[in-house]
Symmetry: C2
Subunit: 330 residues, 2 copies
């Protein structure tokens, strides 16, 4: 149906997020609130009333827009039916934001080859991975968009990327079956779960899952492709570092179908519009599996068929400001 | 300075959240947006301009209010200086919401006695707990308020509560020292981290931390007490089930000071106004440590000195709708 993203505009009221429809072939994006405002004015609405309606339909938050359900999708289709020339911007030179601002972000581990190449090297893979599609929760406030520089935690020596799909939830629900869950997947984006492997390895000995090893940054984007445009189980996935191909995988090798992940996640919890679910790393889709790590200044590009390329440059390590003094051992 | 909460009001526009100042001794709450609106009208603002300002200062979201910083606190003080009789409601019969709607929710494990009584019974306590204050992240969209019924996951046989403090962040920041972090703690609330122990035990074998074992419900409330009203390290904590005392602890037994937890959490991540941080369970503050579990219909009361009593009744188990078919073992 469409490709949808978010860009930053700086005006007299400071920086604001704008929803855009992306037309990669035309090398354009269409500012949705602006196009809707002008459309309503052409239909006779006063400028201020047209603005009020356009901002309600196309707020800066994609999660809030998705919460409108079909009303949002119909409004996007109306805009894209045109005319939109007076609301189009060149696709180059934009400041991209994460296309989604999720209320909750989870990351699964649904590709068996990644499991075998990571946990499987340390011992037997815990059977739970074959029983239920387990996941951890990330920090949705540390998402980065396309072309954003990735902050490098002061204590990290082993910096890694992860090549994943990101499933974006449109319709919410609780205790869904996979059939119902399928209709809740609005679209996909590219999900780069940057990982400080040394920090992650240390903290995970406490059994509470990853935190500081992951939460400094997750890149998503460049935009969302709606689910009707692609076959989620037939997508090439490629990772390049400084132009060199490091990883190549295929979404069809996933062990749990996307709708099974979503159905499981909705068990006993109300799934919300705008939630973001990482697929887990495709087999060989990270440096840990390849015995290589990233350096400051490296440029990481993840490409997923039907979406595009998500590109980020690694920043320089920060400074250690404070270190918790260890407690006496119990 | 104050006790602040949120209650639900149902008007012609449907249910809306209202910020209230709580005066337990007077058995009153003060609707802050209403009191501010009337105050501004008395000063000559038109009704619609007064409403606009009052809603901007006191939105339904506590996180958004806290993001105003000192401006919010000064506005609360102005309201409480009175007169507020025309905006007061009896404290009984209100529909309490979680006092905070956090963008991110973490739960630490900072009481050593709880560690010894749980992980310590299964083997040596991982040394990481004495090196850094580790935590897991919860699902902030499943928070419940005071007097809300607790949904019981279909697959849970071993239902438990956890007696914790909840630290509410006022000012955000990144890479804070403990001294700086101290000023970021706006106040505390009571935090009941309901836990499906059988589900939690099973899923944690995958090393990704707790998820379904915790995320069905966390109760917080009944309100927030600002940090200046209390000594965070000198609070009695009590848990009662159906009126019977099960647990009694003291906040001073915490292994990491609250400002150390906040400083650690701010490492490499931008702490946001309105974030909520559970302290972890005080020693003997859950059924797992006592060899007892909850039953449907049980009433759990957590009492923390200087805050109040958070009371919730357990619901009945739901029905299993769908179970992921296990994959072949690798």
């Amino acid at each position: 149906m469409a490709k949808l993203g978010r860009v930053l505009d700086v005006g007299p009221d400071g920086p604001t997020a704008r929803l855009v429809a992306v037309l990669p072939h035309e090398k354009l994006v269409v500012d949705l609130a602006r196009a809707e405002r002008l459309r309503l004015e052409r239909r006779g609405a006063s400028p201020s009333a047209a603005l009020r309606m356009a901002q309600a339909l196309f707020p800066g938050s994609m999660a809030q827009a998705l919460a409108l359900g079909e009303i949002f999708l119909e409004a996007v289709e109306r805009v894209l039916a045109g005319p939109y020339a007076d609301s189009a911007l060149p696709i180059e030179g934009l400041h991209w934001l994460p296309p989604i601002d999720p209320p909750v972000m989870r990351d699964c581990l649904a590709f068996e080859e990644h499991l075998k190449n990571t946990l499987g090297r340390l011992g037997p893979i815990p059977d739970i991975y074959y029983q239920i599609p387990i996941y951890y929760k990330g920090n949705p406030t540390t998402l980065l968009g396309h072309e954003a520089e990735v902050p490098w935690p002061a204590r990290c020596q082993e910096m890694d990327f992860e090549l994943e799909l990101g499933f974006v939830i449109g319709k919410g629900g609780k205790d869904l079956t996979p059939d119902q869950a399928k209709g809740c997947i609005f679209g996909i984006t590219i999900f780069n779960d940057f990982s400080a492997r040394d920090i992650q390895r240390q903290e995970m000995t406490g059994m509470l899952g990853p935190a500081k090893g992951k939460d400094f940054a997750t890149a998503v984007g460049p935009w969302i492709t709606t689910a009707d445009e692609i076959d989620l189980l037939d997508l090439q996935m490629v990772a390049r570092v400084n132009g060199e191909e490091w990883s190549r995988g295929h979404s069809g090798s996933i062990m749990w179908r996307p709708e099974e992940l979503v159905a499981y996640i909705s068990q006993d919890e109300l799934l919300q519009p705008g939630e973001l679910i990482g697929s887990g790393t495709v087999g060989l889709g990270c440096g840990l599996e390849l015995g290589r790590f990233l350096k400051p200044g490296d440029v990481v590009e993840l490409e997923v068929e039907g979406v595009g390329i998500l590109r980020n440059r690694m920043g320089r390590p920060g400074q250690v400001i404070w270190q918790p003094p260890p407690r006496r051992t119990g």
